[in-house]
């Protein structure tokens, strides 16, 4: 029995690594596209910061540091919802998911593998955003606690990976799912730790009670060295870990159901 479990978990890991490799190959197969995506990020960033100046703000110091993390958090939400979530729906339309499953893999392994490949892209995105801020605004971005930062970044990405896959399955049958994605990309960050708690008591309340917010607040706290919520970092890490684990569990359940339905009826979704 132990040998069977070892072989099963070994095979599962092997499949996930295959999917990671496939995802990386897919990402790197279009180097021009990757470069254009990287160049777009600082342009959007400059537009966002200049638009804030349009409200009569003059930006400097800690404000710019906070804006770095607001920008990156929004970029994470956007990337996972569009590239990953909508990407899954596009893969189904193009018939890619059927080939993946026909090769012996499962929806969950495919999603995890592709997601881990995209995580590398989001890390590159971070490097570009930090470099852009340094160049354009002559601000040196700080990361006070790199270890906690890295852990929170991974947890934020894994929770968004799970959220985006659950979302994709739920909206799979909709004709204009991109409309819902467009709206969600503003609502989710608002309740998901996009804004620093220092901005207002209402924001602090949201960040304290929204489990989605914890990894993002941790990311900002480990970068700026400011404990926004006044809760010990270890406790925040524990909350983030529990939330991420729950999200992965729910994603595994829902993707399992969707996998069965896809094999039986050829349709993605739960209905």
């Amino acid at each position: 029995m132990a040998g069977y479990r070892d072989r099963f978990s070994g095979r599962a890991l092997y499949d996930v690594f295959n999917e990671v490799e496939r995802g990386l190959r897919s990402l790197l197969s279009r180097p021009a596209s990757l470069v254009m995506g990287m160049i777009s990020a600082p342009l959007w960033l400059a537009f966002f910061v200049l638009s804030l100046e349009g409200y009569g703000l003059s930006l400097g110091g800690l404000t710019i540091q906070l804006l770095i993390w607001i920008s990156y958090s929004f970029s994470l939400y956007s990337t996972w919802l569009w590239e990953f979530g909508q990407g899954m729906l596009d893969e189904h339309q193009d018939g890619v998911l059927e080939y993946v499953m026909g090769s012996g893999s499962s929806l969950f392994k495919h999603v995890m593998g592709s997601g881990l490949a995209l995580l590398i892209y989001t890390a590159l995105d971070l490097a570009v955003i930090l470099a852009s801020f340094a160049t354009v605004f002559r601000v040196e971005p700080t990361i006070m606690d790199p270890a906690v930062f890295l852990v929170s970044l991974v947890m934020a990405s894994l929770s968004l990976l799970s959220l985006a896959s659950i979302y994709a399955i739920i909206v799979a049958g909709l004709r204009s799912s991109w409309v819902v994605t467009d709206v969600l990309q503003f609502i989710l960050p608002a309740v998901g730790g996009l804004l620093p708690s220092e901005f207002s008591p209402a924001i602090r309340l949201i960040n304290e009670y929204s489990p989605l917010a914890y990894p993002f607040v941790l990311m900002r706290e480990s970068a700026t060295g400011v404990n926004e919520l006044g809760i010990p970092i270890q406790l925040q890490l524990a909350y983030s870990f529990i939330f991420t684990a729950v999200m992965i569990g729910v994603a595994w359940l829902i993707l399992g159901k969707a996998d069965e339905r896809l094999r039986r009826t050829g349709s993605l979704g739960l209905r």
Partner: protein
């Protein structure tokens, strides 16, 4: 009469296609509230934001969004026709491609102008009262004229977009650059001089100024003249470059 019938048929077909996605039009109405509202919320934590400034920024973000849509319209249409295998038939048909392109662009422009007007009404009324609403309605004509240079610019870029295998990424880059160079949501003094020059050459900032001044009742004739001249210039450029693209496609085939 033949060309007019063809034009009407193209427009009718395009209206049918657009009406199949009412969600997209609804999104055009509510998205500016998310974008302008979101940035206003962030700005309000750092400085005082009054309703006049919000109205000005709202129009600016609207102009950016509509400009991006109009710039992408021509290239997107050609790309979708090519990917669907219909471009060869269109080029081979006796209908002049300019009739098809301008027919589809007019329908797109009308739809997004309607969405803009519906979106702006509550802001215009809330900030400037009934007079503001009337002036917002009057700005429809201004917007129709102001979007034409952007369509021309998009048509000029369509050759580049068609040549790229991954044209979505190229459109994304063009979109981000156009937003930054719009000059619609920030003071131009914030930019270096050479970038400021680029912003002045593009029509977005004048369109934004024209719409804002129309809303507050201080529209300058110079704005309208500029937009009309820009329409003529950019549409001519777009038509010329598209003509070259079409000759190239007919000679070398569609790849």
């Amino acid at each position: 009469m033949g060309a007019i019938n063809e034009f009407a048929a193209v427009m009718e077909n395009e209206f049918r296609i657009i009406s199949r996605e009412p969600g997209g039009l609804a999104l055009l109405v509510i998205l500016p509230y998310f974008v302008a509202g979101g940035t206003a919320v962030i700005a309000s934590f750092l400085a005082s934001v009054n309703r006049y400034r919000f109205a000005e920024q709202f129009i600016g973000f609207e102009v950016v969004m509509l400009s991006i849509i109009m710039m992408q319209t021509g290239a997107r249409f050609l790309r979708e026709e090519r990917n669907g295998g219909r471009l060869e038939y269109l080029l081979a048909s006796p209908t002049n491609m300019f009739i098809v392109l301008f027919g589809t662009s007019l329908v797109m422009a009308s739809s997004i102008v309607a969405a803009f007007t519906v979106s702006l009404m509550p802001i215009a009324y809330g900030v400037y009262g009934v007079q503001g609403m009337m002036r917002a309605l009057a700005s429809i004509v201004l917007l129709m004229i102001g979007l034409m240079p952007l369509y021309g610019l998009g048509l000029a870029l369509s050759g580049l977009v068609l040549r790229f295998r991954d044209s979505d990424s190229l459109m994304g880059l063009i979109t981000s650059a156009a937003s930054l160079l719009s000059g619609a949501t920030y003071p131009m003094q914030a930019l270096p001089r050479w970038l400021g020059f680029l912003v002045k050459v593009l029509p977005m900032h004048v369109l934004d100024d024209a719409l804002y001044y129309e809303l507050i009742g201080y529209l300058n004739a110079a704005h309208v003249v500029y937009l009309a001249l820009a329409s003529a210039a950019y549409l001519s450029l777009g038509a010329y470059l598209y003509g070259r693209l079409q000759r190239s496609l007919l000679r070398k085939g569609i790849v």
